[in-house]
């Protein structure tokens, strides 16, 4: 059984069925998109606070940073561990494991389909944002946009792999999904969703930049808002993280399947 040979028609069928599925859940996805308002709440505080100037931010760069952070978050949200837990508990996983297709591809297709469904809502929120903050309107250059898109895709990959590690642990303990909390907590504070990493004290910044979290929001958001300095190094680090995490997921998954004894068995 080879997982690597994915045929075009399989990809198409996977995506189309997942997209049709996601369209059924438009209301949920719209609400979900709206639940990402946290960067806007933080923007309001940062704008009012005198501290922003001492970190070298003005109203304009703050607005652009937090809008970019919002957008990057919208297209890097991952929930694979929750789908996986449900499928494992309800016994849906067993047929997936028999198919000549790695189950993670199915989840990946679901995520991409969800992002496509989410796109109009994210654009609508962006439009509303500019309506109230007309002065912060900007159009990134094509290069900037493409780089931001690519780094968001890498950010999504890092998030997807990190959660897949926890999902694989569900093969051993069906409640392992609660470990996701231990991933989300540092992500929330160290990714740049609440504060740009450049506002952290220098020593803490150095340590934080060694973790994958700033490359999941802060780095792509900096590119999109035109604040990024070391774009090349950022991409290298993103690629390093992906190449560390990918084999871990594959190995854990293999070991997990061997250990797996279906629910109710």
């Amino acid at each position: 059984m080879s997982y690597s040979k994915l045929k075009i028609n399989v990809i198409k069928a996977l995506f189309n069925s997942q997209y049709a599925n996601m369209l059924e859940y438009r209301v949920e996805i719209a609400l979900w998109a709206l639940s990402g308002v946290l960067p806007f709440i933080m923007l309001s505080i940062w704008k009012e606070s005198g501290a922003a100037t001492s970190y070298g931010f003005d109203g304009l760069s703050l607005s652009r940073y937090f809008l970019s952070a919002f957008l990057v978050r919208q297209f890097s949200v991952v929930w694979v561990v929750f789908s996986f837990e449900e499928d494992a508990l309800l016994g849906k996983l067993s047929p997936y494991l028999i198919q000549p297709l790695h189950p993670l591809w199915r989840y990946l297709a679901a995520h991409i389909a969800e992002q496509v469904t989410r796109l109009p809502f994210a654009l609508l929120i962006t439009f509303t944002f500019f309506l109230f903050n007309t002065d912060s309107f900007w159009i990134p250059s094509l290069i900037q946009f493409l780089l931001a898109w690519l780094s968001t895709l890498f950010a999504f990959s890092i998030a997807f792999l990190l959660q897949s590690i926890i999902a694989s642990l569900c093969f051993w303990n069906e409640k392992a999904s609660s470990l996701e909390r231990l991933l989300f907590t540092p992500y929330l504070f160290l990714s740049g969703l609440l504060a740009p990493i450049s506002s952290f004290p220098p020593n803490i910044q150095k340590i934080v930049l060694l973790t994958p979290f700033p490359y999941m929001i802060n780095f792509p958001a900096n590119i999109l808002s035109g604040l990024a300095e070391n774009i090349f190094i950022g991409f290298i680090i993103q690629i390093i993280w992906i190449s560390i995490l990918f084999p871990v997921v594959i190995l854990l998954w293999k070991a997990g399947v061997r250990n797996y004894t279906a629910m109710g068995a």
Binding site: V27, S178, L182, F189
Partner: protein, 262 residues
Amino acid sequence: MERYLKALYLFLTTAIGIEMEYQLNFIVEVIAMIGTLSGSIFILSLFFTQGQQLGNWSWEQALIIQGIYTLLDGITNTVLRPNLREIVNYVREGTLDFVLLKPIDSQFWVSLRTFSPSGLPEIGLGATLVIYACNQLGVVLNINQLVRIIIILASSSITLYSIWFLVAATSIWFVKTWNATEVLRAILSSGRYPVSAYSLTLRFIFTFILPITFLTTVPAEIIIGDSGYNMIYIGILIAVFFFSLSRMFWIHALKYYTSASS
């Protein structure tokens, strides 16, 4: 009344029994909670660089708000979320019928049916932070002051419950609105900071539309002794208003409940 207390006792003991089954869960929750509090305090500290203040609140005063927020978040995780997220399932699976048939108030049942002990340490952590910050500020608490604090915290808990309940109860009509509570959760997290730290528009919204001001900022002002005597009455009034609203909404919503598959 006795029946309600007896039911409540049974709810609590079964919940503890279930929790004992999942001890890993409890440990993870406690670690995550300590991480969340440290993270929030770290982010808060960023605003106080070079002698800055946050909306005219000093560092210790802002810590009191963080403490109250943590306490209320603990209540949310202990009681509100585990119960109210089930409403949508009762409706979808038709099991709300069984709840309505019980000789007990249905709002009481769906609101207090279970609780999650793993949220309790968060309540303790929040209270500890408030006491620590009070100590730093040199706030002396006499009996009179303590009673006022308990009253205002009870009021904000009731207000918080009522908002959650209002949003969760909409699933009687729209099964798909469970995600609306995620939106609510995101917006409520703005209660981590004093309301005066926000722009005028948000301050208006947080005071007159969504009573976030009354959840954390007003109780903190009362603890510091910064507020007029009237604020406590307004806090109580808001709680009574939102609770009555949730009550009326539930009774109204049940009229539209037609059970599953009918």
